[in-house]
Symmetry: C2
Subunit: 152 residues, 2 copies
């Protein structure tokens, strides 16, 4: 039942912004950290309601935004539609399996540098970017190679 550093970070953020420290906010932070990222607000809401049925999904949505502002979470929009949240950490990009939904993070210094060069060429000043590779993870490639009879 820990996540002490993040709890303290949240507490600090709330104080600094004259916001209130509520049971719900602590609860949602804990649940979010437990699942280890790349989760939608709704998934998180479903999980939390199992043990805390009185919590509203509006509050989960609102709190995830708050955690982003506090620098504890980061919003991501993959092709599938709904917003996902990951635990905020160093810059990185993603590989997304279009069959099973697995999300793997990667980082590539060389691509980052090349992007800067491209931006310069067009006179742009890059503020952020989005780089997602969609395809099949190792497991799903295997599954799709089997004869049709073996497929569910």
């Amino acid at each position: 039942m820990a996540h002490e550093p993040q709890r303290r970070a949240l507490a600090r953020y709330l104080e600094e912004h004259n916001l209130k420290h509520t049971r719900q906010r602590e609860l949602i932070l804990d649940a979010f950290l437990d699942v280890q990222g790349h989760i939608t607000s709704d998934d998180l809401y479903q999980r939390i309601r199992e043990t805390e049925p009185q919590i509203g999904y509006t509050t989960v949505y609102r709190t995830m935004k708050l955690l982003c502002e506090a620098g504890l979470a980061a919003e991501r929009h993959f092709d599938e539609g709904s917003t996902r949240y990951e635990i905020a950490h160093d810059h990185h990009d993603h590989l997304v399996c279009t069959r099973c939904g697995t999300i793997v993070e990667f980082e590539c210094e060389m691509i980052e540098k090349t992007q800067e060069e491209i931006a310069k060429r067009y006179g742009f000043q890059i503020l952020r970017h989005r780089h997602e590779l969609y395809g099949l993870c190792e497991k799903c490639q295997g599954v799709l190679k089997r004869p049709p009879s073996e497929l569910a």
Copy 2:
């Protein structure tokens, strides 16, 4: 009033799929090609209704999907929200100005290759990808550098 090659491509696609050749489809194709891409269905609908007020926006949405299937248009989802369509052509990625909305296309062989290497490292087979650089175009950097008094 031309776009003959694309009109013929659409006609061929419709025939091959036992779909019907309608005035609306031709109209929407023409309007789409006229604006030179990166337009939303709704923008396109607004434009078309100026000269053809009886056309429904449902038809515009449906037809843009059709043009994608026919390989004449391609769907793009930038951060701002609604789906944009561009004229289908060789693979490329985008620079997007977050202030004025200007969209510039770029292509980088080196990044493409690097992506493949990254995918291999994680056992992924890439099917498609999305690479967007968000920032300020040259013009907007200039505007934002002026003293506040000059800003609208």
